[in-house]
């Protein structure tokens, strides 16, 4: 951070009576951002929004986004695809608008390694992209080894559907094909994982589908944890909408999956074995593989960062945003990713120009559906604290209990408005 010039530095200089003319002062410390290069790896909500907001912050900065795939399927709203309420195409996006509207250069390729001292990213194609600052936003990867019996191969039988796309469609087909009276098992990994309310939204929407199409069926949630996001709100909704259909087993009562078997479609826990007709294994998670390879992760498997700039505390000139980062109390959500992206973009624009990084501000606003017309929310304004990032006192809220159907419908409508806007704000 030696490029930062703080007010304290300035005051001490002034106090020391440094005899600089003001013109000279300005020239000495302001840096031109002309031809400065920022490379962003990963075109999810974090990476895409960061690329866009960097260009908005300073059009002189050249921004290159590296992304493996030409199309991105959003995890938000993918549970509606799962139950046939909308097609996969409705949640599939491209990157043309980042290029056309904001001048982001998009390179489709696989970043295989990072050279922090030479400040270069190597692509699988052999190409090397130099940078002044690098943003790493690879999302999550799965710790297959942490769950016996689970693998990429096993996921073709027991889908995770925790990265949206073909996995979402596989799980949808399985739900369509299962018999009336069958059981859908959802295993939830130890926290932290992507989208804390996600598994419970999924259980809700699957119950919604089953109630209408295979009403004798059940959903069994085997949870490694003892509580979950918006728990009271979900429980109230399950009681009202799907009485007796959803069973939740917390970790303390044997909910933690220790082994899965794709042949017999069984899940083992400390309390015994469960057989499902459909088994949705949400595996234990860690930062994207590239973050590991680049030395950005700590012993938790996630990436420690500075809360004001998202610069890695492990590698200089490299910033980590989105699900891969350790962002204090901010959850691993698309909303937090979008907020982190903007804070990171503003910080990088300041750093490249030789200015001090300003104070960050974050909003996390997440919606989950208990049914297509029953929305639940969690929202807060977060700021940098001594320990990292935390919601401001009194500025954190979850959907109230005992509300009217009209209120729930409004929150479901808010959820769809949120989706439309966060997608546009991040990708167009």
């Amino acid at each position: 951070m030696e490029r930062n010039f703080t007010r304290r530095d300035f005051l001490s200089m002034a106090a020391a009576g440094a005899a600089v003319s003001l013109g000279g002062f300005g020239r000495a410390f302001a840096q031109s951002t002309q031809d400065k290069r920022v490379v962003v790896i990963g075109g999810g909500f974090a990476g895409a929004a960061c690329a866009k907001y960097l260009r908005r912050a300073d059009p002189a900065i050249q921004v290159t986004l590296i992304e493996r795939q030409r199309n991105y399927v959003t995890c938000p709203s993918s549970n509606l695809v799962l139950i046939g309420q909308q097609p996969l195409s409705a949640i599939t996006l491209g990157y043309d608008k980042l290029r056309l509207n904001h001048g982001v250069k998009v390179v489709y390729g696989n970043a295989v390694s990072i050279d922090p001292s030479g400040r270069k990213v190597a692509l699988e194609s052999g190409e090397a992209l130099p940078y002044d600052r690098l943003v790493v936003a690879p999302g999550i990867d799965f710790k297959y080894a942490a769950l016996e019996g689970y693998s990429e191969q096993a996921a073709t039988v027991m889908p995770h559907a925790w990265k949206a796309g073909p996995q979402t469609e596989l799980l949808r087909r399985q739900l369509e094909q299962m018999p009336n009276g069958g059981t859908v098992i959802i295993t939830v990994p130890p926290a932290p994982f992507r989208c804390p309310p996600g598994p419970y939204e999924r259980a809700s929407l699957i119950a919604y589908y089953l109630k209408r199409n295979k009403p004798k069926s059940k959903v069994l949630i085997l949870d490694a944890n003892n509580g979950f996001a918006v728990q009271e709100g979900f429980m109230e909704a399950w009681q009202a909408l799907y009485p007796g259909m959803i069973e939740w087993v917390p970790g303390s009562k044997g909910g933690r999956a220790t082994k899965v078997d794709a042949k017999s479609l069984t899940v083992s826990t400390s309390a015994g074995q469960h057989r499902g007709n459909v088994v949705n294994v949400i595996p234990p998670q860690k930062a994207g593989d590239l973050a590991d390879k680049a030395g950005l992760t700590d012993e938790t498997g996630w990436c420690p960062v500075d809360a004001g700039s998202f610069e890695s505390t492990r590698q200089k000139d490299i910033h980590v945003i989105g699900d891969s980062s350790i962002a204090g109390k901010l959850p691993k959500s698309a909303a937090a990713a979008n907020a982190e992206a903007k804070v990171c973009a503003a910080a990088i624009a300041s750093l490249l120009a030789g200015r001090t990084v300003g104070d960050p501000s974050f909003i996390n606003a997440c919606y989950a559906l208990a049914s297509p017309t029953y929305g639940l929310s969690v929202a807060g304004v977060y700021e940098r604290t001594a320990g990292g990032i935390a919601p401001l006192p009194g500025a954190f809220g979850v959907s109230p209990l005992k509300e009217s159907a009209k209120y729930r419908a409004k929150e479901a409508q808010d959820a769809s408005g949120w989706y439309e806007n966060i997608v546009a704000d991040s990708f167009t």
Binding site: F10, S21, L22, A30, K342, S361, G394, F396, N421
Partner: protein, 106 residues
């Protein structure tokens, strides 16, 4: 430049945040930093899609009044806890920011 003049200019420099915007560490987030967080639901620059409230180019008084109402009357679903985060002054800063955005291009 005479020493006194130089001293006065230095003072002006230190005590006028706008003048040394490029080097001063602010004690609070800027209006732009806060306003950008609204974009997640209300669109980039407050140009909202669909049924979400548009903020772009709206009179600052109108935006601020609505935001105060959420805060004071605990209304607006997620807007109530969110507005609790900001001082009245910060709410006015956010409102003025959206009013001040250039109106030419959508």
């Amino acid at each position: 430049m005479r020493p006194t003049t130089r001293f006065l200019l230095l003072c002006a420099c230190i005590f006028t945040p706008q003048f040394i915007y490029s080097t001063a560490a602010s004690a609070a987030p800027t209006a732009k930093m806060m306003a950008n967080t609204c974009a997640m639901c209300h669109g980039t620059d407050g140009k909202a899609m669909g049924k979400m409230e548009e903020l772009y180019g709206k009179p600052a008084n109108k935006i601020a009044d609505e935001l105060f109402e959420f805060k004071q009357e605990n209304k607006g679903r997620v807007m109530a806890p969110l507005m609790n985060a900001y001082t009245d002054e910060q709410i006015r800063m956010i409102a003025k920011y959206f009013e001040s955005l250039p109106s030419k291009k959508r």
